[in-house]
Symmetry: C2
């Protein structure tokens, strides 16, 4: 990790230190995803079964996970089941509180309000790969259930054996997801957006994925009658603000937890103490030695930075400018600094709050804006599975009061049919 002193950098150098790697337009990827989507729209399940064989190495007869396959849940230990259930309980608690509430009020002869309604059909994408991303399932399925989405379609790529990991099956059952389909990649996104014989069409698609999934989500979101996407995606990232009292062992472990995600993961340590920076550096080396994903860690750390700030005020300016997905505060009286956080996905406050607790089980959602999007996007929450409908109901006296105002404004905008809709009513009331 290279070390820079913020005060000694030019404006351009500062921008470079905080810059994310820019994704280049990958024409081949765009074309390939386009072809996959077209094929799924044309051939439905048949295309999905062929892609499962080609990309997942899985020979499937049927996309839907059968009742029989759920027996695999028995292979989980009690500890594993209990950990999943505790995480569900905490995530449910937080998201229940976070659920938006409809309201109505009366004023000047008008009743007005806002109604929150679930999005009727949602798609949940759970990536496959070497390990089952149980936590991602919880982070999507729980808010979808609290929102009250009627149709929740879960897709996940099968393993080579054609099966879905038992932990995913257990978590899905526990979250009230009834139907799991074995499909991954761009083809799964296409199936969710347009439907196939077995997979129902949905209105919005949630969940992370590789570059094919991300590109497919963008393409279907721009297609007439396709499906909206949850938020734009980029590599995961952490920024740790630490002062001279921070424990270098904890700081290093937090940087490493981020670095193991992906070689593209971004890791920044922002500290007021050069001494701490040195100690963290040593700790990173010591801990990396015993971690299994050390090759990934080394590559992501190679691109990462340690920034020395002159004080915490400067540190928060830098952090807000970067707008990190995860912000960890390992500083004295950390909670007092929350008001200074303007741009971040989720904040981990104080020495006993590693990012991992939020990733899995504290209760907050771990699907967060990356890539600087925390400037204007929120992390996932129940509201993302709902939409708001406003309403107004005027009484006769209400239109008498408000009508002339509307007539004047419609006149100003030159829209006389807008005005007329009020005028015919006022005439009726005055006749």
């Amino acid at each position: 990790m290279r070390v820079v002193i913020w005060g000694q950098l030019s404006q351009t150098e500062r921008k470079l230190v905080l810059a994310r790697s820019q994704a280049s337009d990958d024409e081949a990827l765009i074309r390939q995803v386009k072809e996959i989507i077209a094929n799924v729209r044309q051939n439905g399940d048949k295309a999905l079964l062929e892609y499962a064989a080609k990309f997942d190495g899985a020979k499937l007869d049927c996309l839907l996970v059968s009742e029989d396959e759920y027996k695999a849940i028995e292979s989980l230990s009690n500890d594993e089941k209990q950990a999943i259930l505790t995480a569900i309980d905490n995530i449910r608690h937080y998201h229940n509180i976070s659920c938006p509430k409809s309201f109505e009020f009366e004023r000047n002869g008008a009743k007005l309000g806002k109604l929150y309604r679930p999005i009727e059909k949602v798609g949940l994408y759970i990536p496959g790969g070497t390990a089952p991303l149980v936590s991602t399932l919880l982070m999507l399925a729980i808010p979808a259930t609290i929102a009250g989405c009627e149709t929740k379609v879960l897709v996940t790529p099968p393993g080579k054996n054609g099966l879905v990991n038992p932990a995913i099956l257990f978590a899905a059952k526990a979250c009230g997801i009834d139907a799991i389909y074995k499909a991954g990649g761009a083809q799964a996104v296409a199936a969710l957006a347009f439907g196939t014989e077995s997979i129902p069409k949905v209105y919005k698609i949630f969940g992370p994925g590789n570059k094919y999934v991300t590109e497919a989500k963008i393409q279907v979101s721009q297609t007439h009658n396709g499906a909206a996407l949850d938020m734009p995606a980029g590599p995961s990232e952490v920024l740790v603000i630490a002062d001279d009292k921070a424990n270098p062992v904890f700081v290093a472990s937090d940087l490493l937890a981020q670095a193991e995600h992906d070689v593209a993961a971004q890791v920044i340590l922002l500290t007021t103490s050069t001494e701490l920076a040195n100690k963290v550096h040593q700790e990173v080396e010591r801990q990396t030695a015993y971690l299994s994903r050390k090759e990934i860690i080394k590559q992501s750390l190679a691109k990462s930075a340690v920034i020395i700030a002159k004080d915490l005020a400067e540190a928060f300016v830098i952090s807000n400018q970067y707008a990190p997905e995860h912000l960890i505060l390992q500083i004295a009286n950390a909670e007092d600094y929350l008001p200074q956080v303007i741009n971040a996905g989720s904040v981990f406050v104080g020495e006993w709050t590693p990012e991992s607790v939020g990733d899995y089980a504290s209760g907050t959602n771990h699907v967060l804006p990356t890539y600087g999007y925390a400037q204007m996007y929120s992390g996932l929450d129940v509201i993302a599975f709902m939409k708001a409908i406003s309403f107004q109901n005027l009484s006769a006296s209400g239109i008498k009061t408000l009508g002339p105002v509307v007539e004047t404004l419609a006149d100003l905008e030159g829209l006389d049919a807008h005005k007329n809709a009020v005028t015919v009513r006022l005439q009726h009331l005055n006749s």
Copy 2:
């Protein structure tokens, strides 16, 4: 308006009746917008001044509206000023209530919460054209101000005389917008997304516009370090549900208010009464005769439909399938039917609530999801000008309780650096 009886239509015919016109990829438009954006990024204000001459026919020395120009406000009548102020008061009242609230709670040794923060820099686009869209300004500026956005950059195309309409200037002042820049079209969007010498860069761009504006918003939202957009855009639309007791004069006036917007506007009357449909048809002809925008009205009505439903239950199924931007309920005991509304942008309840009241002054926001997007998007509101940041703060006892759960889940996902971040803390506490 053609009349169809829902019960006699095939599935395909039903889809066709409710289908929106599909926008075709306009390669020339996409290329032209790309060039405009590149030019503005390269040449800044100079490009904007050239485009103002070329597209708006306005010779400008300076993009910012000068203090002197605000004197034009004096040309407004007291009625006009008062109407704008009343609308502001109502819109502010509704949006204040609608503003999301931060929360926090404690549980199992953890304090968790959610902080709402304004998006720091937002761009507000007010279209130009023959009439000043004062109401659009109110619908963007008021929630931006309630959210607390620090930098609110308002752009609007100048008239041929190089000036901005006095009503826009008055409304902007009254809403607390200090800086108005004379720029329109794709070039204004480019300036907001990337900044120029005089126009500050913003993080998110709000407001309707023509096809160049819409395409530019899409392009900058997909560009690294560009700007997010408010919501996807399509032609405006209304669906009126009316029973046999509805007043045909009112129903016709509501259909016409929508039809005058644009030749692409969509108008649907959904009724349980053939007799009412006939009366509305006559009223549409009678009222059209005295309206000024009759040529636009005739063209948009030509594509519109009257659907006869067998009962109100069927009508609501059809309406929810269509997911109208504006839904008008002219039925007995209209408010009792609100629970049946699943997909709509805003609902106008009962005979005294024409759409125009919501367009201008009832208090709800008139920037609403079109084109079926009400299935998964909300209308504009304060929350669109904010983002939520979650936080968690565990005590030592909190990590002791939750830590083992996180370790188990990290193990399941094969992420041992995630586990390690907990383990080093538990070791510290147990040592």
